[in-house]
């Protein structure tokens, strides 16, 4: 083979260029810490890495949603605790007031405290979280119960948020489930004075109470209670005017309200614990995907560094031998 000098030159130049290329790639891996710096480096892995990154983004977003939900639910929990505490006190007071040994003056005092409780529960019903009235349902820009005697002014409906890829959680409690009477089943009772009391919930959420005389026919009084706070307020009036029958009729409302509140509390408690588990699960999944992503795309620094070292050695050897080969030709030796 007549290998001539231009072939040797070309070979040297090509080899050095190849080695330089390898060094360039290795440097890129070092500076970005990634094996894959463009899709063509490894198309299948790039595609997988792409999907992992999307998943990780989802997980982060769900965690954010979960944190927000946690804040809202904890706030609701606090408010519900306030309500049940106050309802407990109201029940205590009403039992005390109905006790025949009490006299007018103490019943007056009981009435006053009950009025305070009614006002306080009203303020809780209209409490706000991050600018929204929390018990107004979907009409978060209006008060749930603008006055003690108003009907529910919000919009019943669920605010659902996504807590993971397949499930959502509702974040609100509609005020009418706590403070209105739509779940009050029709019933009746007989007072110690042998008067008959009939309860019927109306379609607008208010409660119709009918007090009949001992003959169970004559209607003595009809009371329409708009909501729980209204009920407690009317109970306070009844104690103040010493009307025990009316007081007896109205005190049923407190147990009902307590029931509703406890149901809501259980729901919130359950949601909070579900959220906690959910966040843990998200953390674990995040770890898994992060690891998968890292395995695919991260460069192993030690491997890259040793690659660079071996390329450097090869490059040096090339340069040294080339220098020796090209330094002489026959023309140098002919006289």
């Amino acid at each position: 083979m007549r290998v001539n000098i231009s072939i040797l030159y070309k070979q040297l130049v090509d080899s050095i260029a190849k080695k330089n290329n390898e060094i360039f790639k290795a440097h890129e891996e070092l500076s970005t810490s990634k094996k894959i710096n463009r899709p063509s480096d490894d198309v299948a892995s790039y595609s997988k890495a792409y999907n992992y990154k999307i998943k990780l983004n989802y997980i982060e977003q769900f965690k954010r949603n979960g944190e927000y939900a946690d804040g809202v639910l904890k706030f609701l929990e606090t408010q519900l605790n306030n309500i049940t505490d106050n309802l407990d006190r109201a029940l205590e007071l009403s039992i005390l007031g109905l006790n025949s040994t009490e006299d007018n003056i103490s019943r007056n005092a009981i009435g006053s405290e009950l009025k305070n409780i009614s006002d306080y529960i009203l303020s809780i019903a209209n409490s706000k979280y991050e600018g929204n009235f929390v018990f107004s349902g979907l009409k978060s820009n209006t008060e749930a119960y603008p006055t003690t005697t108003s009907l529910f002014a919000g919009e019943t409906g669920k605010l659902n948020i996504n807590i993971n890829e397949v499930s959502s959680m509702s974040l609100n409690i509609s005020g009418d489930n706590l403070f209105s009477f739509k779940h009050f089943s029709s019933s009746s009772l007989i007072t110690p004075e042998n008067k008959y009391i009939y309860y019927n919930s109306s379609s607008d959420g208010s409660l119709n109470i009918e007090i009949r005389d001992t003959d169970n026919v004559t209607v003595l009084k009809k009371i329409n209670v708009s909501n729980v706070m209204d009920g407690i307020s009317k109970l306070s009036d009844a104690f103040k005017k010493n009307d025990l029958v009316e007081a007896r009729a109205l005190s049923e409302i407190i147990s009902f309200a307590k029931q509703q509140a406890v149901i809501a509390q259980t729901e919130v408690g359950f949601k909070l614990s579900r959220l906690e588990k959910q966040q843990q699960a998200l953390d674990e999944t995040e770890l898994i995907y992060s690891k998968l992503l890292s395995d695919i795309q991260d460069a192993d620094i030690t491997i890259v560094a040793s690659e660079i070292a071996s390329i450097q050695t090869a490059l040096e050897a090339l340069r040294v031998t080339a220098a020796k080969v090209f330094s002489h030709s026959l023309l140098d030796f002919l006289r």
């Binding site: 072939i7 463009r38 480096d41 595609s47 792409y50 409906g157 026959l330």
Partner: protein
């Protein structure tokens, strides 16, 4: 027998060896010229004279200067220039396109889409929150601008390609001109004799190589002198004449004319072919997919959004600017499009269509990408034709073969924007008067997983992932191809160099050889001179 004949023999030897030394130094001077083929001197004897004792030789002469030329290797190399040229172009362009979509080390379209859906999710926890609504408007702006940036970058690449095509065609024509001039010179120099114009032939081969790298050519030598080069079966260079290749850009791509014949579909190799294939790939796959994605997604979003109620209790508000300005091309003498608009947003499929006319005033609507006929019917001038959500009205007389090209996506990205000016206008509720209702918003969020018909039944992320992977795969294989072609080319170039190249050591030996022979010939003359003097002294 005359004494003077020894002088002649000596003189012939001197000339011959001096010529040989010139040729050797010519070789040495051209040692780095890759197009040069080594020349060697062929010695022969002068015609002998008859003398009483037999035939007496009269010295040496240079018969010819031979060029060591391997036809097979040269042809192979010229062919490989062609494939190498195409592979080089393809690799360059595909890696540029890949870079436009590469999000390994920077934030791009996928990141913008992520941020968009994240803002929607954040809004879902508190839909009436104005600051969160403002965030949504901001990330929506970013998303729109990402689409525009990508389209711009790709169009920049396309513009560069078109410019490169016109530059290459100019180069091609200039080479063709040079080749025809070279043909004339060679014909002149070689006229009448048997000697070859070696250096000019080397130069001609070099021009041929460069031509081949640009476009696929077929060539042959006729009359042993003229090189005829053909492109697409038409004469490009024929002896001293050459025809210009012209490139005429059209809407769809470029038309190549040689000798008044359209040879566009005969261009099968070389850089030009690489450029044309790249443009086709970009227009029919890359731009098509990105435009389809942006138009399809914003349309689905708009449909859900306009069903919802906003904080002003209004329905029917579009979030993104809807499709308008549907692009069309007319290829008809006597009819024209008098109106074109969206007929039903839900029916839009975001493909590109041809409306072609057949004999008997029948129209056929074909989908450009799967060649399926999606509708046909009788043409009535002025009556709207409705298909895939689009309504087109054509007025005038149509002839068989007339066609119209309709594209709802071609101008979409350029015109897209956010239709909403204030955060209260964002519609997230399904019922009026319910600012905390996020049920319509949840439907919007569900779009990220929804397999859309306009995206070939894939969701946005899968569609984008597939598009990017395809570009990446093509870029990787173009890279591999180039390495392979380059290795092959280098092999052949080496073989050619071995067969035709100059070896300095060999030439050094030749130099000494001819120098010694020259010295010996000079010695012969000196001896002849002394003999002559001796003879003269005798008398």
């Amino acid at each position: 027998m005359s004494l003077l004949s020894i002088f002649d023999i000596g003189r012939n030897a001197l000339f011959a060896n001096r010529t040989a030394m010139s040729v050797t130094s010519h070789n040495i001077a051209n040692v780095n010229n890759t197009d040069y083929s080594r020349q060697e001197v062929i010695f022969g004897t002068e015609t002998p004279t008859k003398i009483r004792d037999g035939f007496l030789g009269r010295g040496t002469t240079v018969e010819t200067i031979k060029r060591s030329y391997d036809r097979f290797l040269t042809d192979m190399l010229i062919n490989q220039e062609n494939t190498l040229g195409k592979s080089t172009i393809l690799k360059n362009i595909l890696s540029q396109i890949e870079e436009v979509f590469n999000e390994s080390n920077r934030n791009g379209l996928t990141d913008a889409i992520n941020k968009f859906f994240n803002a929607l999710e954040d809004l879902s926890t508190n839909p009436s929150d104005i600051s969160k609504r403002i965030v949504l408007l901001n990330v929506a702006d970013e998303l729109v601008s990402q689409f525009k940036t990508i389209e711009n970058s790709i169009e920049d690449i396309t513009n560069n390609i078109m410019f490169e095509i016109s530059t290459l065609v100019k180069k091609l024509n200039s080479l063709g001109n040079d080749l025809s001039e070279m043909n004339k010179k060679i014909a002149q120099l070689e006229a009448g004799g048997n000697d070859k114009a070696n250096d000019l032939r080397d130069k001609r081969d070099a021009i041929l190589k460069e031509l081949s790298s640009i476009i696929n050519i077929s060539y042959y030598e006729n009359n042993d002198k003229d090189l005829v080069v053909m492109i697409g079966m038409r004469n490009f260079v024929n002896g001293g004449a050459f025809n210009e290749l012209s490139a005429i850009p059209t809407e769809e791509n470029v038309r190549f004319m040689l000798d008044n014949i359209d040879i566009s579909n005969k261009i099968a190799g070389g850089k030009l072919n690489g450029l044309i294939e790249s443009i086709n790939f970009i227009k029919n796959e890359v731009l098509y997919k990105i435009r389809k994605l942006s138009a399809g997604f914003t349309n689905e979003f708009n449909i859900i959004h306009s069903n919802g109620y906003n904080l002003n209790n209004n329905q029917g508000v579009m979030f993104f600017l809807p499709i308008s300005n549907i692009y069309y091309e007319e290829h008809s003498q006597n009819s024209t499009v008098t109106s074109i608009s969206v007929n039903n947003f839900t029916d839009l499929k975001f493909d590109e269509y041809y409306i072609t006319f057949k004999p008997g005033n029948i129209y056929e609507i074909t989908n450009k990408y799967n060649n399926q006929v999606i509708a046909s019917g009788n043409y009535i001038s002025g009556s709207p034709i409705i298909f895939d959500g689009i309504s087109v009205t054509i007025t005038g007389t149509v002839a068989d073969g007339d066609s119209f090209f309709i594209s709802p996506i071609k101008n979409f990205i350029k015109k897209v924007g956010i239709n909403i000016t204030s955060p209260e206008e964002i519609s997230l509720a399904s019922i009026p008067n319910a600012p905390s209702d996020n049920s319509s918003l949840l439907n919007l969020i569900a779009l990220k997983e929804k397999k859309a018909a306009s995206l070939g039944n894939k969701n946005i992320y899968d569609f984008l992932n597939e598009t990017i992977s395809r570009v990446g795969a093509l870029s990787a294989s173009a890279d591999d191809n180039l390495k392979f072609e380059q290795a092959l080319y280098d092999e052949t170039a080496n073989k050619k160099s071995i067969a035709q190249g100059v070896n300095l050591d060999e030439e050094a030996v030749n130099l000494i050889k001819y120098q010694r022979a020259f010295e010996a010939a000079a010695k012969v003359i000196q001896v002849a001179n002394e003999l002559y003097e001796t003879l003269v002294k005798l008398v």
